[in-house]
């Protein structure tokens, strides 16, 4: 039976050749490390979000009168509803962690450098789409946390004169966060954003394959192709096969993240669903100690300490643009960050400040 299917496919799509060129004979650099697997893990977690999100839609009712109750019922009445929702909630955070670590690894290994600038830029867009995913999904349970986090996010554009109010109202659909906002965010979360992210993932993977996987800059000879004058595929003829060697590495990393997800679901179930997430949204009461999700704590703290709203939000936009356009700003040939002390100091300082602002935002 299997042989017949294989033969059927062989005749039509050249299965054996496809497996050879794309998996067994496709080579990755010899010194590739575990950090190179984070993109794959993020992709799997995105698929997990799609699957768990699809099942949540069976019971979730996107209306301000019913959304909170339907989520509570998923958690308490629907058999294993808690598991599906927790996988969606914890999975989204771990997807964010993967993307974040992936960026740190790519930056540290100089993977953004010529000819991979476009791969980086597409990656940054994916990162921002992920943030909008988190933000739009955050409102859907219609809890106090979701309501007030969304109020803050949708008020941010008002820092800008003339168009700020209009943009804020377009996002909300009403002067305050309301059922109309919920509908807009729901539509965004389940239709437009997945479509955009799938297109960006396709483009990102195309670029990775088209250009070729970069190799870590540590302990290797300078790439022979430098300087890059015209397009060619970066191959690694002396490298390890993509399958099974690299795929096994990816599976190891995936298992670590899955273990972490189930550990959080089993032993720390309230870590990402604190008390305020179990209180229905009250448009007339801002909770006393409202904090955003951990990944927004650094920008939250920055907004808190900068005395001017316009300045605070403008600074965050400038930092985002720096992040997107970084490959075009750092044009030095040297890829090894350890040989570039100023860049290394900038990198360490950036990560350090992010950690400090996150902890400060949490405890302040």
């Amino acid at each position: 039976m299997w042989a017949k299917i294989k033969n059927w496919l062989e005749i039509r799509i050249g299965l054996t050749e496809l497996i050879q060129t794309q998996l067994t004979e496709y080579r990755v650099p010899k010194n590739i490390n575990l950090f190179y697997t984070l993109g794959f893990v993020a992709l799997v977690f995105f698929v997990l979000q799609v699957v768990t999100g699809f099942f949540l839609l069976f019971y979730y009712i996107p209306h301000s009168e019913t959304a909170f109750r339907s989520v509570q019922e998923i958690m308490s009445t629907v058999p294993y509803g808690w598991l599906v929702r927790q996988m969606h909630v914890v999975g989204s955070t771990l997807m964010f962690v993967c993307v974040f670590l992936h960026f740190i690894a790519v930056f540290f290994m100089g993977g953004y450098k010529k000819p991979r600038e476009l791969t980086w830029v597409v990656g940054t867009f994916m990162f921002f789409v992920t943030i909008v995913f988190c933000l739009s999904g955050y409102l859907l349970p219609w809890s106090q946390m979701s309501y007030w986090a969304t109020t803050i996010a949708t008020t941010m554009p008002t820092a800008f004169p003339y168009i700020g109010d209009m943009v804020g109202n377009l996002m909300k659909g009403s002067p305050q966060v309301s059922g109309l906002t919920l509908n807009r965010f729901f539509a965004l979360h389940v239709t437009l954003l997945p479509l955009i992210l799938v297109i960006l993932i396709g483009l990102h993977l195309f670029l990775v394959r088209r250009i070729g996987i970069s190799s870590p800059p540590f302990g290797r000879a300078e790439e022979a192709e430098r300087p890059w004058k015209k397009y060619h595929h970066v191959s690694h003829p002396d490298g390890h096969p993509f399958y099974p060697d690299f795929v096994l590495k990816e599976v190891v990393m995936l298992m670590i993240f899955f273990a972490l997800m189930f550990f959080i679901i089993s032993f720390l179930p309230t870590l990402l669903l604190p008390e305020e997430s179990n209180i229905a949204a009250d448009p007339f009461k801002t909770p006393a100690h409202i904090k955003p999700e951990w990944y927004f704590l650094a920008p939250y703290q920055m907004l808190k300490i900068i005395p001017n709203k316009f300045l605070g939000i403008s600074l965050q936009i400038i930092l985002s643009l720096l992040f997107i356009l970084w490959p075009f700003l750092d044009t030095k040939e040297e890829v090894n960050i350890l040989k570039r002390r100023r860049l290394l100091a900038f990198f360490v300082l950036g990560v350090f400040l992010w950690v400090v602002f996150t902890i400060w935002g949490k405890v302040s």
Binding site: W148, T151, I152, T154, T155, M156, T158, A159, N169, L170, K172, G173, S174, P175, Q176, L180, P283, F284, K285, T286, P287, A288, H289, I290, Y300, L303, K304, I305, I306, P307, N308, K309, F310, G312, S364
Partner: protein, 127 residues
């Protein structure tokens, strides 16, 4: 000619889309609200909805009644009257306003919106 056709096509898509996305008009926006003086003892505040937004009336001892929008001018969280410390506080980014609505500390760019209020006999009329 081609440009004109192109602009017409784009306009005929963008305009209806813009109108579709723009917030529909508010139906319930009563411009005046009336309370009884006895509802707010001295040193206390009462939260009220006013013109579709959260507001509050504070009875300041010796100074009478004042009304503010509760929407923080920073990022839209709702402020609360802190009678112990005699201030108005926003829990989101720790902004502090005085009892005139002026910013004391924190990132809000402007004071709280003060609402017109008058006392008519035993009634307080806001708006």
């Amino acid at each position: 000619m081609l440009t004109l056709l192109g602009l017409t096509t784009v306009g005929s898509i963008v305009y209806p889309l813009g109108r579709f996305l723009a917030p529909p008009g508010e139906k319930d926006k009563s411009k005046q609200i009336s309370l009884k003086r006895s509802e707010i003892p001295a040193g206390e505040a009462k939260d009220i909805p006013f013109a579709g937004m959260p507001a509050m009336v504070i009875n300041l001892p010796g100074r009478g009644f004042v009304a503010f929008s509760r929407v923080c001018s920073h990022l839209g969280c709702l402020v609360d009257y802190d009678k112990v410390r005699n201030r108005i506080f926003c829990p989101c980014h720790a902004a502090v306003f005085d009892l005139e609505g002026n910013v004391v500390t924190g990132p809000p760019p402007r004071p709280l919106q003060k609402l017109p209020l008058r006392v008519e006999g035993e009634s307080i009329v806001i708006g």
